[in-house]
Amino acid sequence: MFAEEPPGWSFDLGSSVTCERCGEEPASVHLLRVVDGAVAHTHLCPGCAEGMAEETEGLALVLAVPSVLRHLARASSAEETPTAEPAAEHMEDFCETCGTTLSDLKESGLVGCADCYERFADYLDTLRVPGAEPVEHLGKIPHRGPETDNLRHEMLRLQRMLRELVACERFEEAAGVRDRLTELGQRLEQETG
Protein backbone atom coordinates (compact mmCIF):
# COMPACT_ATOMS: atom_id res chain seq x y z
CA MET A 1 0.00 0.00 0.00
CA PHE A 2 0.96 3.62 -0.26
CA ALA A 3 1.92 5.87 2.66
CA GLU A 4 0.01 9.07 3.10
CA GLU A 5 2.32 11.87 2.23
CA PRO A 6 2.55 14.05 5.33
CA PRO A 7 1.38 17.67 5.45
CA GLY A 8 4.06 19.88 3.96
CA TRP A 9 5.02 17.21 1.44
CA SER A 10 4.78 19.81 -1.26
CA PHE A 11 6.97 19.86 -4.29
CA ASP A 12 6.67 23.62 -4.52
CA LEU A 13 10.16 24.81 -3.82
CA GLY A 14 9.36 28.48 -4.07
CA SER A 15 7.48 29.00 -0.83
CA SER A 16 9.16 30.08 2.37
CA VAL A 17 8.97 28.00 5.53
CA THR A 18 10.18 29.20 8.91
CA CYS A 19 10.59 27.15 12.05
CA GLU A 20 7.27 26.75 13.85
CA ARG A 21 8.97 26.84 17.24
CA CYS A 22 11.43 29.74 17.14
CA GLY A 23 9.87 31.50 14.16
CA GLU A 24 13.28 32.73 13.09
CA GLU A 25 15.40 30.05 11.48
CA PRO A 26 14.36 28.42 8.18
CA ALA A 27 12.61 25.10 8.76
CA SER A 28 14.61 22.33 7.19
CA VAL A 29 13.30 19.34 9.12
CA HIS A 30 9.89 17.75 9.47
CA LEU A 31 9.33 16.29 12.93
CA LEU A 32 6.69 13.61 13.33
CA ARG A 33 5.83 12.78 16.92
CA VAL A 34 3.67 9.89 18.05
CA VAL A 35 2.51 10.33 21.63
CA ASP A 36 -0.20 8.05 23.02
CA GLY A 37 -1.22 7.11 19.50
CA ALA A 38 -1.72 10.71 18.39
CA VAL A 39 0.41 12.05 15.57
CA ALA A 40 1.72 15.61 15.32
CA HIS A 41 3.58 17.12 12.38
CA THR A 42 5.85 20.14 12.85
CA HIS A 43 8.25 21.99 10.56
CA LEU A 44 11.35 22.99 12.49
CA CYS A 45 14.89 24.20 12.19
CA PRO A 46 17.47 21.52 13.03
CA GLY A 47 18.23 23.03 16.48
CA CYS A 48 14.61 23.12 17.61
CA ALA A 49 13.94 19.67 16.11
CA GLU A 50 16.71 18.15 18.19
CA GLY A 51 15.39 19.78 21.35
CA MET A 52 11.80 18.82 20.72
CA ALA A 53 12.67 15.22 19.81
CA GLU A 54 14.54 14.84 23.11
CA GLU A 55 11.64 16.30 25.08
CA THR A 56 9.08 13.98 23.47
CA GLU A 57 8.17 11.04 25.67
CA GLY A 58 6.72 8.88 22.89
CA LEU A 59 8.22 8.10 19.52
CA ALA A 60 9.78 10.98 17.64
CA LEU A 61 10.61 10.53 14.00
CA VAL A 62 12.50 13.26 12.20
CA LEU A 63 11.71 13.12 8.53
CA ALA A 64 13.72 14.96 5.96
CA VAL A 65 10.78 15.68 3.71
CA PRO A 66 10.99 18.22 0.97
CA SER A 67 11.01 21.09 3.42
CA VAL A 68 14.72 20.32 3.34
CA LEU A 69 14.70 20.60 -0.41
CA ARG A 70 12.73 23.84 -0.15
CA HIS A 71 15.43 25.27 2.02
CA LEU A 72 18.22 24.06 -0.23
CA ALA A 73 16.46 25.23 -3.36
CA ARG A 74 15.76 28.63 -1.87
CA ALA A 75 19.39 29.05 -0.91
CA SER A 76 20.65 27.95 -4.31
CA SER A 77 18.11 29.96 -6.30
CA ALA A 78 19.00 33.04 -4.26
CA GLU A 79 22.59 32.55 -5.30
CA GLU A 80 22.06 31.67 -8.90
CA THR A 81 18.90 33.39 -10.11
CA PRO A 82 18.57 36.60 -8.17
CA THR A 83 16.44 38.26 -10.85
CA ALA A 84 13.67 35.66 -11.06
CA GLU A 85 11.36 37.27 -8.49
CA PRO A 86 11.53 40.93 -9.63
CA ALA A 87 10.71 39.91 -13.21
CA ALA A 88 7.55 38.18 -12.04
CA GLU A 89 6.41 41.22 -10.12
CA HIS A 90 6.26 43.46 -13.17
CA MET A 91 3.80 41.40 -15.16
CA GLU A 92 1.92 38.32 -14.02
CA ASP A 93 2.80 35.46 -16.35
CA PHE A 94 -0.07 33.18 -17.21
CA CYS A 95 -0.73 30.26 -19.53
CA GLU A 96 -3.20 31.09 -22.30
CA THR A 97 -4.34 27.48 -22.58
CA CYS A 98 -5.38 26.85 -19.00
CA GLY A 99 -5.17 30.22 -17.22
CA THR A 100 -2.61 29.03 -14.66
CA THR A 101 -0.53 31.95 -13.40
CA LEU A 102 3.05 31.90 -12.22
CA SER A 103 1.76 32.70 -8.72
CA ASP A 104 -0.56 29.66 -8.88
CA LEU A 105 2.37 27.49 -9.86
CA LYS A 106 4.61 28.86 -7.12
CA GLU A 107 1.91 28.41 -4.51
CA SER A 108 0.68 24.94 -5.42
CA GLY A 109 3.51 23.39 -7.44
CA LEU A 110 0.87 22.45 -10.02
CA VAL A 111 0.81 23.28 -13.71
CA GLY A 112 -2.53 23.19 -15.52
CA CYS A 113 -1.61 21.77 -18.91
CA ALA A 114 1.20 20.66 -21.20
CA ASP A 115 1.65 24.20 -22.54
CA CYS A 116 2.52 25.44 -19.03
CA TYR A 117 5.86 23.65 -19.33
CA GLU A 118 6.80 25.94 -22.22
CA ARG A 119 5.19 29.04 -20.73
CA PHE A 120 6.90 28.66 -17.34
CA ALA A 121 10.08 26.96 -18.56
CA ASP A 122 12.34 29.59 -16.99
CA TYR A 123 10.75 29.19 -13.56
CA LEU A 124 10.65 25.38 -13.82
CA ASP A 125 14.35 25.39 -14.66
CA THR A 126 15.08 27.11 -11.35
CA LEU A 127 13.44 24.19 -9.51
CA ARG A 128 15.96 21.70 -10.78
CA VAL A 129 18.44 20.64 -8.15
CA PRO A 130 21.80 22.09 -9.19
CA GLY A 131 24.21 19.42 -10.36
CA ALA A 132 21.57 16.69 -10.42
CA GLU A 133 22.10 14.07 -13.11
CA PRO A 134 20.59 13.65 -15.56
CA VAL A 135 18.94 16.97 -16.37
CA GLU A 136 17.27 15.61 -19.49
CA HIS A 137 14.64 12.89 -19.72
CA LEU A 138 16.32 9.54 -20.37
CA GLY A 139 13.49 7.22 -19.37
CA LYS A 140 10.74 5.62 -21.39
CA ILE A 141 9.17 7.59 -24.22
CA PRO A 142 5.76 7.15 -25.89
CA HIS A 143 5.67 4.73 -28.81
CA ARG A 144 3.23 6.95 -30.66
CA GLY A 145 5.26 10.13 -30.34
CA PRO A 146 6.77 11.91 -33.36
CA GLU A 147 10.02 10.61 -34.86
CA THR A 148 11.77 13.77 -33.67
CA ASP A 149 11.06 12.73 -30.03
CA ASN A 150 12.83 9.43 -30.67
CA LEU A 151 15.78 11.20 -32.23
CA ARG A 152 16.07 13.74 -29.40
CA HIS A 153 15.77 10.97 -26.81
CA GLU A 154 18.48 8.91 -28.45
CA MET A 155 20.72 11.96 -28.68
CA LEU A 156 20.23 12.74 -24.98
CA ARG A 157 21.10 9.14 -24.15
CA LEU A 158 24.23 9.27 -26.30
CA GLN A 159 25.28 12.65 -24.87
CA ARG A 160 25.17 11.14 -21.39
CA MET A 161 27.14 8.12 -22.62
CA LEU A 162 29.72 10.43 -24.22
CA ARG A 163 30.21 12.34 -20.95
CA GLU A 164 30.73 9.09 -19.05
CA LEU A 165 33.14 7.65 -21.64
CA VAL A 166 35.24 10.82 -21.61
CA ALA A 167 35.25 10.77 -17.81
CA CYS A 168 36.60 7.19 -17.96
CA GLU A 169 39.16 8.24 -20.59
CA ARG A 170 37.75 5.75 -23.11
CA PHE A 171 38.39 8.17 -25.94
CA GLU A 172 38.21 5.72 -28.83
CA GLU A 173 34.67 4.63 -27.97
CA ALA A 174 33.76 8.23 -27.20
CA ALA A 175 34.76 9.21 -30.74
CA GLY A 176 32.35 6.62 -32.15
CA VAL A 177 29.54 7.96 -30.00
CA ARG A 178 30.38 11.51 -31.05
CA ASP A 179 30.12 10.52 -34.73
CA ARG A 180 26.77 8.87 -34.13
CA LEU A 181 25.59 12.05 -32.37
CA THR A 182 26.62 14.17 -35.34
CA GLU A 183 24.72 11.86 -37.66
CA LEU A 184 21.58 11.98 -35.51
CA GLY A 185 21.89 15.77 -35.24
CA GLN A 186 21.84 16.06 -39.02
CA ARG A 187 18.80 13.78 -39.26
CA LEU A 188 17.00 15.83 -36.64
CA GLU A 189 17.78 18.99 -38.58
CA GLN A 190 16.30 17.46 -41.74
CA GLU A 191 13.17 16.25 -39.87
CA THR A 192 12.49 19.64 -38.34
CA GLY A 193 13.23 21.44 -41.59
Binding site: F2, A3, F11, L13, A64, G112, A114, A132, H137, K140
Partner: protein, 345 residues
Protein backbone atom coordinates in the same frame (compact mmCIF):
# COMPACT_ATOMS: atom_id res chain seq x y z
CA UNK B 1 20.77 -7.79 -2.01
CA UNK B 2 20.02 -10.05 0.94
CA UNK B 3 16.58 -11.65 0.86
CA UNK B 4 13.96 -9.86 2.90
CA UNK B 5 15.50 -6.40 2.65
CA UNK B 6 12.41 -4.85 1.06
CA UNK B 7 9.26 -5.93 2.86
CA UNK B 8 6.78 -4.77 0.25
CA UNK B 9 6.95 -2.97 -3.09
CA UNK B 10 4.64 -0.51 -4.78
CA UNK B 11 4.83 1.39 -8.03
CA UNK B 12 2.81 4.18 -9.61
CA UNK B 13 2.96 5.37 -13.21
CA UNK B 14 1.26 8.72 -13.98
CA UNK B 15 0.29 9.98 -17.40
CA UNK B 16 -1.78 12.77 -18.93
CA UNK B 17 -3.46 12.85 -22.27
CA UNK B 18 -2.26 15.51 -24.67
CA UNK B 19 -4.88 17.97 -25.82
CA UNK B 20 -6.68 18.08 -22.49
CA UNK B 21 -5.91 20.27 -19.51
CA UNK B 22 -4.88 18.50 -16.31
CA UNK B 23 -7.71 17.37 -13.98
CA UNK B 24 -7.55 20.20 -11.42
CA UNK B 25 -8.27 22.88 -14.07
CA UNK B 26 -10.19 20.94 -16.74
CA UNK B 27 -13.99 21.19 -17.27
CA UNK B 28 -16.04 18.42 -15.70
CA UNK B 29 -17.60 17.41 -19.02
CA UNK B 30 -14.17 16.95 -20.62
CA UNK B 31 -13.02 14.81 -17.70
CA UNK B 32 -16.20 12.72 -17.95
CA UNK B 33 -15.45 12.18 -21.65
CA UNK B 34 -11.93 11.11 -20.83
CA UNK B 35 -13.13 8.66 -18.20
CA UNK B 36 -15.58 7.15 -20.73
CA UNK B 37 -12.76 6.80 -23.29
CA UNK B 38 -10.45 5.12 -20.79
CA UNK B 39 -13.18 2.74 -19.63
CA UNK B 40 -13.80 1.82 -23.27
CA UNK B 41 -10.14 0.94 -23.59
CA UNK B 42 -10.28 -1.19 -20.44
CA UNK B 43 -13.29 -3.08 -21.81
CA UNK B 44 -11.38 -3.99 -24.99
CA UNK B 45 -9.88 -7.38 -25.74
CA UNK B 46 -6.21 -6.47 -25.69
CA UNK B 47 -5.70 -7.30 -22.01
CA UNK B 48 -4.43 -10.57 -20.54
CA UNK B 49 -6.67 -10.12 -17.49
CA UNK B 50 -10.07 -8.49 -17.14
CA UNK B 51 -10.42 -4.99 -15.70
CA UNK B 52 -13.02 -4.68 -12.94
CA UNK B 53 -14.45 -1.17 -12.99
CA UNK B 54 -15.74 0.28 -9.72
CA UNK B 55 -18.48 2.85 -9.29
CA UNK B 56 -16.84 5.15 -6.75
CA UNK B 57 -20.16 6.70 -5.75
CA UNK B 58 -21.63 3.32 -4.89
CA UNK B 59 -18.74 2.05 -2.73
CA UNK B 60 -19.14 2.02 1.06
CA UNK B 61 -16.50 3.45 3.39
CA UNK B 62 -15.35 -0.06 4.25
CA UNK B 63 -15.05 -1.09 0.59
CA UNK B 64 -13.02 2.00 -0.33
CA UNK B 65 -10.73 1.58 2.69
CA UNK B 66 -10.26 -2.07 1.77
CA UNK B 67 -8.96 -0.97 -1.64
CA UNK B 68 -6.53 1.45 0.02
CA UNK B 69 -5.41 -1.19 2.53
CA UNK B 70 -4.73 -3.63 -0.33
CA UNK B 71 -2.48 -1.05 -2.01
CA UNK B 72 -4.82 -0.76 -4.98
CA UNK B 73 -5.80 2.87 -4.35
CA UNK B 74 -3.65 5.72 -3.00
CA UNK B 75 -4.80 7.69 0.08
CA UNK B 76 -4.44 10.85 -2.05
CA UNK B 77 -6.98 9.54 -4.57
CA UNK B 78 -9.32 8.46 -1.75
CA UNK B 79 -9.20 11.98 -0.28
CA UNK B 80 -9.43 13.74 -3.64
CA UNK B 81 -12.53 15.12 -5.25
CA UNK B 82 -13.64 16.34 -8.65
CA UNK B 83 -15.57 15.21 -11.67
CA UNK B 84 -14.81 12.37 -14.01
CA UNK B 85 -13.02 10.26 -11.41
CA UNK B 86 -12.88 6.55 -12.09
CA UNK B 87 -11.21 3.46 -10.70
CA UNK B 88 -10.56 -0.07 -11.96
CA UNK B 89 -8.69 -3.15 -10.77
CA UNK B 90 -6.74 -5.44 -13.12
CA UNK B 91 -7.32 -9.15 -12.71
CA UNK B 92 -7.28 -10.24 -9.08
CA UNK B 93 -5.48 -7.09 -7.99
CA UNK B 94 -2.21 -7.39 -9.89
CA UNK B 95 -2.61 -3.69 -10.75
CA UNK B 96 -5.16 -0.89 -10.64
CA UNK B 97 -5.95 2.34 -12.42
CA UNK B 98 -6.96 5.73 -11.02
CA UNK B 99 -8.66 8.03 -13.53
CA UNK B 100 -8.65 11.81 -13.10
CA UNK B 101 -6.85 11.97 -9.79
CA UNK B 102 -3.91 14.40 -9.79
CA UNK B 103 -3.25 13.33 -13.37
CA UNK B 104 -5.48 11.85 -16.06
CA UNK B 105 -4.42 8.27 -15.43
CA UNK B 106 -2.23 6.54 -12.86
CA UNK B 107 -1.47 2.83 -13.06
CA UNK B 108 -0.58 1.30 -9.69
CA UNK B 109 0.83 -1.97 -8.47
CA UNK B 110 1.54 -3.38 -5.01
CA UNK B 111 3.12 -6.66 -3.93
CA UNK B 112 4.67 -8.16 -0.83
CA UNK B 113 8.41 -8.65 -0.96
CA UNK B 114 11.08 -7.15 -3.16
CA UNK B 115 9.08 -6.99 -6.38
CA UNK B 116 9.83 -3.56 -7.82
CA UNK B 117 11.24 -4.91 -11.06
CA UNK B 118 8.39 -7.33 -11.74
CA UNK B 119 5.90 -4.55 -10.94
CA UNK B 120 7.65 -2.31 -13.44
CA UNK B 121 7.42 -5.05 -16.10
CA UNK B 122 3.67 -5.36 -15.63
CA UNK B 123 2.93 -1.63 -15.35
CA UNK B 124 5.12 -0.87 -18.35
CA UNK B 125 3.10 -3.37 -20.37
CA UNK B 126 -0.25 -1.94 -19.23
CA UNK B 127 1.05 1.55 -19.98
CA UNK B 128 1.98 0.49 -23.54
CA UNK B 129 -1.50 -0.88 -24.10
CA UNK B 130 -3.21 2.23 -22.76
CA UNK B 131 -1.03 4.25 -25.09
CA UNK B 132 -2.43 2.47 -28.13
CA UNK B 133 -5.55 4.59 -27.58
CA UNK B 134 -4.44 7.53 -25.43
CA UNK B 135 -1.98 10.05 -26.78
CA UNK B 136 0.28 10.93 -23.87
CA UNK B 137 1.43 14.46 -23.09
CA UNK B 138 5.19 14.21 -23.51
CA UNK B 139 8.14 16.47 -24.18
CA UNK B 140 11.56 15.20 -25.23
CA UNK B 141 13.27 17.35 -22.60
CA UNK B 142 10.82 17.18 -19.67
CA UNK B 143 9.54 13.66 -20.25
CA UNK B 144 5.96 12.73 -19.41
CA UNK B 145 4.18 15.93 -18.40
CA UNK B 146 2.41 15.78 -15.05
CA UNK B 147 0.34 18.20 -13.01
CA UNK B 148 3.08 18.29 -10.38
CA UNK B 149 5.85 19.82 -12.43
CA UNK B 150 8.62 18.47 -10.22
CA UNK B 151 7.49 14.92 -10.91
CA UNK B 152 7.57 15.29 -14.69
CA UNK B 153 9.94 12.84 -16.33
CA UNK B 154 9.43 9.12 -16.06
CA UNK B 155 6.17 9.73 -14.16
CA UNK B 156 7.17 6.74 -12.04
CA UNK B 157 7.17 6.62 -8.26
CA UNK B 158 8.67 3.52 -6.67
CA UNK B 159 7.87 2.78 -3.02
CA UNK B 160 9.77 0.25 -0.91
CA UNK B 161 8.32 -0.62 2.49
CA UNK B 162 10.82 -1.37 5.27
CA UNK B 163 10.50 -2.51 8.89
CA UNK B 164 12.89 -0.39 10.93
CA UNK B 165 11.83 -0.56 14.59
CA UNK B 166 15.38 -0.50 15.99
CA UNK B 167 16.46 2.51 13.94
CA UNK B 168 13.30 4.31 15.00
CA UNK B 169 13.51 3.50 18.70
CA UNK B 170 17.16 4.50 18.89
CA UNK B 171 16.49 7.80 17.08
CA UNK B 172 18.76 6.94 14.16
CA UNK B 173 16.08 7.19 11.53
CA UNK B 174 16.53 10.96 11.23
CA UNK B 175 20.08 10.58 9.97
CA UNK B 176 18.96 7.94 7.48
CA UNK B 177 16.19 10.23 6.23
CA UNK B 178 18.59 13.13 5.69
CA UNK B 179 20.95 10.88 3.72
CA UNK B 180 18.02 9.81 1.56
CA UNK B 181 17.07 13.37 0.67
CA UNK B 182 20.59 13.98 -0.58
CA UNK B 183 20.06 11.08 -2.98
CA UNK B 184 16.71 12.29 -4.29
CA UNK B 185 14.74 9.86 -2.15
CA UNK B 186 12.24 10.46 0.65
CA UNK B 187 10.96 8.53 3.65
CA UNK B 188 7.40 8.51 4.91
CA UNK B 189 5.80 6.57 7.78
CA UNK B 190 3.24 4.05 6.57
CA UNK B 191 0.97 3.73 9.61
CA UNK B 192 1.76 6.87 11.59
CA UNK B 193 5.18 5.44 12.31
CA UNK B 194 3.83 2.43 14.22
CA UNK B 195 6.27 -0.48 14.37
CA UNK B 196 8.93 1.51 12.51
CA UNK B 197 7.19 0.71 9.23
CA UNK B 198 8.28 3.28 6.65
CA UNK B 199 8.21 3.72 2.90
CA UNK B 200 11.18 4.92 0.88
CA UNK B 201 10.36 6.45 -2.50
CA UNK B 202 11.97 8.50 -5.25
CA UNK B 203 11.03 12.17 -4.97
CA UNK B 204 13.92 13.87 -6.72
CA UNK B 205 14.55 14.66 -10.37
CA UNK B 206 12.76 12.15 -12.55
CA UNK B 207 14.93 12.17 -15.69
CA UNK B 208 16.71 8.90 -15.00
CA UNK B 209 15.75 5.72 -16.86
CA UNK B 210 13.21 3.77 -14.81
CA UNK B 211 15.52 0.78 -14.35
CA UNK B 212 18.19 3.02 -12.79
CA UNK B 213 15.68 4.48 -10.34
CA UNK B 214 14.50 1.01 -9.31
CA UNK B 215 18.08 -0.15 -8.85
CA UNK B 216 18.88 2.90 -6.76
CA UNK B 217 15.85 2.42 -4.50
CA UNK B 218 16.65 -1.29 -4.03
CA UNK B 219 20.32 -0.68 -3.27
CA UNK B 220 19.65 2.17 -0.86
CA UNK B 221 17.01 0.09 0.93
CA UNK B 222 19.40 -2.85 1.25
CA UNK B 223 21.86 -0.49 2.96
CA UNK B 224 19.21 0.81 5.35
CA UNK B 225 18.11 -2.70 6.28
CA UNK B 226 21.73 -3.62 7.00
CA UNK B 227 21.89 -0.67 9.39
CA UNK B 228 18.67 -1.85 11.03
CA UNK B 229 20.16 -5.34 11.54
CA UNK B 230 23.34 -3.88 13.01
CA UNK B 231 21.37 -1.74 15.46
CA UNK B 232 19.23 -4.73 16.49
CA UNK B 233 22.37 -6.73 17.25
CA UNK B 234 23.84 -3.76 19.11
CA UNK B 235 20.70 -3.56 21.26
CA UNK B 236 21.09 -7.20 22.26
CA UNK B 237 24.78 -6.76 22.89
CA UNK B 238 24.56 -3.56 24.91
CA UNK B 239 21.01 -3.59 26.33
CA UNK B 240 20.09 -7.26 26.54
CA UNK B 241 17.84 -6.93 29.59
CA UNK B 242 15.79 -4.07 28.14
CA UNK B 243 15.56 -5.71 24.73
CA UNK B 244 14.37 -9.02 26.21
CA UNK B 245 11.95 -7.09 28.37
CA UNK B 246 10.48 -5.21 25.38
CA UNK B 247 10.16 -8.33 23.24
CA UNK B 248 8.79 -10.36 26.15
CA UNK B 249 6.19 -7.72 26.95
CA UNK B 250 5.15 -7.59 23.29
CA UNK B 251 4.71 -11.37 23.27
CA UNK B 252 2.77 -11.28 26.52
CA UNK B 253 0.30 -8.71 25.26
CA UNK B 254 -0.03 -10.47 21.89
CA UNK B 255 -0.88 -13.74 23.67
CA UNK B 256 -3.20 -12.36 26.33
CA UNK B 257 -4.99 -9.25 25.07
CA UNK B 258 -8.72 -9.38 24.35
CA UNK B 259 -9.01 -6.08 22.56
CA UNK B 260 -6.36 -4.48 20.37
CA UNK B 261 -6.10 -1.46 18.09
CA UNK B 262 -4.42 -1.84 14.72
CA UNK B 263 -1.48 0.40 15.57
CA UNK B 264 -0.85 -1.52 18.80
CA UNK B 265 -0.85 -4.77 16.83
CA UNK B 266 1.69 -3.33 14.36
CA UNK B 267 3.99 -2.28 17.22
CA UNK B 268 3.77 -5.71 18.85
CA UNK B 269 4.37 -7.67 15.62
CA UNK B 270 7.33 -5.48 14.79
CA UNK B 271 8.90 -6.10 18.21
CA UNK B 272 8.24 -9.84 18.04
CA UNK B 273 9.66 -10.04 14.50
CA UNK B 274 12.83 -8.32 15.68
CA UNK B 275 12.96 -10.69 18.66
CA UNK B 276 12.62 -13.75 16.44
CA UNK B 277 15.28 -12.53 14.04
CA UNK B 278 17.64 -12.00 16.99
CA UNK B 279 16.94 -15.47 18.35
CA UNK B 280 15.28 -14.17 21.51
CA UNK B 281 11.95 -15.79 20.72
CA UNK B 282 11.20 -19.50 20.40
CA UNK B 283 9.33 -20.70 17.34
CA UNK B 284 9.76 -20.68 13.64
CA UNK B 285 11.29 -17.64 11.96
CA UNK B 286 9.08 -14.70 11.16
CA UNK B 287 10.49 -12.82 8.18
CA UNK B 288 9.84 -9.12 7.81
CA UNK B 289 7.74 -9.99 4.76
CA UNK B 290 5.55 -12.42 6.75
CA UNK B 291 5.26 -9.91 9.58
CA UNK B 292 4.14 -7.24 7.13
CA UNK B 293 1.67 -9.62 5.54
CA UNK B 294 0.22 -10.28 9.00
CA UNK B 295 0.00 -6.54 9.72
CA UNK B 296 -1.82 -6.08 6.42
CA UNK B 297 -4.43 -8.69 7.34
CA UNK B 298 -5.07 -6.98 10.68
CA UNK B 299 -6.06 -3.62 9.15
CA UNK B 300 -9.64 -2.60 10.00
CA UNK B 301 -11.23 -2.99 6.57
CA UNK B 302 -9.43 -6.30 6.02
CA UNK B 303 -10.88 -7.70 9.24
CA UNK B 304 -14.38 -6.49 8.37
CA UNK B 305 -14.29 -7.78 4.78
CA UNK B 306 -12.22 -10.95 5.21
CA UNK B 307 -13.31 -12.19 8.63
CA UNK B 308 -16.68 -10.57 9.39
CA UNK B 309 -18.32 -10.88 5.96
CA UNK B 310 -18.40 -7.09 5.66
CA UNK B 311 -21.27 -7.04 8.15
CA UNK B 312 -20.01 -4.07 10.12
CA UNK B 313 -20.47 -0.84 8.20
CA UNK B 314 -17.88 1.23 10.05
CA UNK B 315 -14.20 0.80 10.77
CA UNK B 316 -14.20 1.90 14.41
CA UNK B 317 -15.84 -0.89 16.33
CA UNK B 318 -15.07 -2.85 19.52
CA UNK B 319 -15.85 -6.05 17.61
CA UNK B 320 -13.01 -5.36 15.17
CA UNK B 321 -10.54 -4.80 18.03
CA UNK B 322 -11.80 -7.99 19.70
CA UNK B 323 -11.42 -10.00 16.48
CA UNK B 324 -7.91 -8.62 15.96
CA UNK B 325 -6.88 -9.57 19.50
CA UNK B 326 -8.23 -13.08 18.99
CA UNK B 327 -6.22 -13.46 15.76
CA UNK B 328 -3.07 -12.30 17.55
CA UNK B 329 -3.64 -14.77 20.42
CA UNK B 330 -4.01 -17.64 17.96
CA UNK B 331 -1.01 -16.66 15.85
CA UNK B 332 1.40 -16.22 18.75
CA UNK B 333 -0.07 -18.95 21.02
CA UNK B 334 2.97 -21.21 20.80
CA UNK B 335 5.65 -18.51 20.90
CA UNK B 336 7.73 -17.88 23.98
CA UNK B 337 10.77 -15.99 25.10
CA UNK B 338 13.81 -18.23 24.73
CA UNK B 339 15.71 -18.83 27.97
CA UNK B 340 18.70 -16.50 28.12
CA UNK B 341 21.37 -19.19 28.22
CA UNK B 342 20.10 -20.76 24.97
CA UNK B 343 20.14 -17.47 23.10
CA UNK B 344 22.09 -17.72 19.91
CA UNK B 345 22.58 -14.31 18.33
Amino acid sequence: MKPGAVTASALGLSRNESGRRFPHVEDGAVLEDLRAEVLDVLAGGQWDERWHVYDLEALSEVEVDHLVERGLMTPAFLDGEGEGRGFAVYGEGQASLEINGSDHVRVLGFRNGDQLESLWSLLNLLDDRLETVLSYAFDARWGYLLARARQAGSGMRAYATLLLPALMLTGRLAGVAVELVNQGLGMSPLWNGAGGVVQVSNIGPQGKPEAETLKQVSEVCAGIVEKERSVRKMLVRESLLQTRDQVGRALGVAQQAWSMSFLEAVNLISAIQAGRELGLVEGSGLSSESAFSLMTRLQPAHIVVDYMDGKIGCLESPEIDEKRARMMREIFADSGLRPQEKRDV
